[in-house]
Amino acid sequence: MRHLPRLRGAVSASLCCSSPTHIRTTTAVAAVATTSSSSTKTQSLQRRTLSTSLPRSDAVEAYTPPQGLKPPPQARKAAVRPDKITDPAYEPAQDGLELEEVGGLDGWWENPDNYGVGRQWVGYGPAEKITDPAVLEVAVYRALVEAMVARRQMNTPDTTPARDALLESGWGPAALTATTVQTKLCGGSHGTLILKPTEDVETATAAEQEAEVTEEAKEQLEAAVTPEQEAEVVEAKEEVTAVASERVAEITEETKEEAETGVASGQETETEVKEEVDATEDSADHVISTEEARALLKEIGHEWKRPMIKDLIYKYFVAKRIYKLTGHRIPDGKLVAINSGGVLLKEIVKPPKAKKLAEEIENKQLFQSLPNVKVFPRRVTPIDKEKMVGRWKVIREELERRGLPVIGTANIDNAIEKKWVTGAK
């Protein structure tokens, strides 16, 4: 007896979109949370979400429904009755095994012609997680840079579409990774991660390192500066802010241009740009290779791993970006504990978890020094023990010679006397 409600039809599904019924806690905030993004547009269209908002009108025009689902033939053909058969060569089957198997809809969907193609799940990140440590490290660094740019943009009004585009874009051409990675990250005067100022800024006073991510640091700095130095610091701050905003604008411009045209770098000349377009036309999303990643890692260095990451929104951007680039979803519970680039990297670059204890022990090379400890991947059976001492072959031959079952008890029951003794029913 089934108690399941049946599927909602296509027409009623669209109707239910217009009148969503939520439980009473649904507030106005829900509207904020249900903003759809451009990158997942096609995905959300391929699979219809019945109870969320309707697809956009521009998307509907570009939408072609998936084809390929083949319903079973509706007309059924019945076999001719034995007494109506005119074929003289016909011989009726004597039992069921002789019958030819025809028809039936078992495994109908196992045939790709019936099931259709292109129904696999498409997630936010790549289909397969990246596991190469070098590539992961580059991806993490790139995510840190891009997320910081996005975070800085948040003060500027009307940058939400650009920010979303930046955070939700894929790897892009290979040169984009190389360009992005050239942006240096380092520790600020309060130990938080910042974009490394350019050379002329570096030569200035220590106070002008103030390009911190958090407001807290800014306040602390202000508290530490004496009124005499204040004017100086303000000047320095303005300078740094200008430089930083230039850098942000530069990166944003680069990213925008590259996202739109697939061009590697905005600094290149037009002829180079054209060549680059030709070269990267067919490789829109280029995940860098291990060799490329290793070369980039030499440039990146290790300076970025130690400084603190405190800002929550920045962490969220980083996690989102890493998920998009590598397929590693950083759980919120882990996000709490991540307080530096190094910790973040350690969280992502991990060997796959062993499924069995024996595998874990083998991977960690435990008990190697103990001569009296052996680890087996499964239970050591009596047969295994006999094999270890080389007696199993003899036992097997003897059992076979006597016509006894080698493994198990065949059809031989337990001794009947056992019942009499124990009184079991």
């Binding site: 905030v29 249900t34 699979r47 997630g123």
Partner: protein, 326 residues
């Protein structure tokens, strides 16, 4: 001679005793600072203690990313109080709650007839004496075949009690346990399973039999959850929604080996602890916490007084217009 010798000895001993010396400074041999070093291998200073000067700032809020479903794109960021989603694991409290729920879920409807409930005449089966057989009363006796059952099961309530505050703490502890392990995935409101349009159309047009519908859903959901690493091979998934969603609930009923779907009203602590992960829509999560925080908020309201124990729940951090950046 001998006595004098003894006296001398005892006097000498007395003179050496500590009590005889009224004030005695114990000579302490202090080595110069540079050479003060033990011969043993020195253990590194433990990091479990912290400097008093260092200010202890415990975590007060924790982030929750709201994802879209099924592509799991992060859409927004909210914060919840650490008392809601970052509680330490208390196995004892979880055990209390699960046992309490189990007790209260028992039907307790088993009942066997006693000798007084078995129908029939209460006539004496045979005379007390003279038959050569054992004495017997009536045929309802528990000793007789077809007689009543002595000490059989009776209808009763197996329910036990648990303090509301303990139960609520257990509920949030279970959520926190999932959160800490990264097994709590929060989605946008309206969590439902999108099924392919062409399939829905054909199902509505009656082109598919019920068996074919089920087979399609089983295959589709199995492949989808398998690709997400949420399926049978990864410990199944529990979906929690505020109300019944037709496609999701039907699909999870058919493809039950890959997970289950529950309405908020049907969820209890044990459900939160089962399966590989919990996928819950944000409004359902908020409602869950709202219903289970009796130890955090006071039920006594005085005019003009704010509930000071109230903690943040689902505050949207991003996207928000109020965000500023230094």
């Amino acid at each position: 001679m001998a006595g004098k010798g003894m006296r001398c000895l005892s006097e000498a001993m007395r003179g050496l005793s500590l009590g005889a010396q009224t004030c005695r400074t114990v000579p302490v041999r202090t080595a110069p600072l540079i050479s003060r070093r033990s011969m043993a291998t020195e253990a590194p200073v433990s990091k479990i203690t912290r400097s008093v000067a260092e200010k202890w700032t415990p975590i007060t809020t924790v982030p929750v990313t709201v994802h879209s479903f099924p592509d799991l794109a992060p859409r927004s960021l909210e914060t919840y109080s650490a008392k809601h989603l970052y509680l330490p694991l208390r196995r004892d409290i979880l055990h209390l709650a699960v046992v309490y729920e189990g007790d209260n879920t028992r039907q307790g409807t088993a009942q066997a007839k006693t000798r007084w409930e078995v129908a029939g005449s209460h006539r004496k089966v045979r005379p007390q004496k003279g038959s050569g057989r054992a004495r017997v009363g009536n045929k309802q006796s528990p000793l007789q075949r077809g007689g009543g059952k002595s000490h059989g099961p009776r209808n009763r309530d197996f329910g036990t009690k648990l303090n509301r505050k303990v139960y609520d703490l257990a509920w949030r502890t279970a959520l926190s346990y999932r959160y800490r392990r990264g097994e709590l995935i929060v989605t946008e409101d309206g969590l439902d399973l999108p099924l392919p349009e062409d399939f829905l159309q054909q199902a509505q047009d009656g082109l598919l039999t019920r068996e074919l519908e089920d087979a399609f859903i089983e295959k589709y959901v199995g492949e989808m959850l398998g690709a997400m690493q949420w399926g049978k091979a990864h410990g199944r998934t529990t979906f929690i929604t505020g109300e019944e969603r037709m496609n999701l609930f039907t699909a999870m009923g058919v493809a039950g080996e890959n997970g289950r779907a529950l309405e908020l009203e049907d969820v209890d602590v044990k459900d939160l602890l089962e399966t590989g992960r919990i996928v819950v829509e944000r409004s359902a999560l908020k409602e869950m916490i709202k219903r289970h925080r009796s130890d955090l908020v006071t039920s006594i309201f005085l005019p003009g007084q704010k509930n000071t124990k109230e903690t943040t729940m689902g505050t949207v951090v991003y996207p928000s217009s109020k965000v500023s950046y230094a």
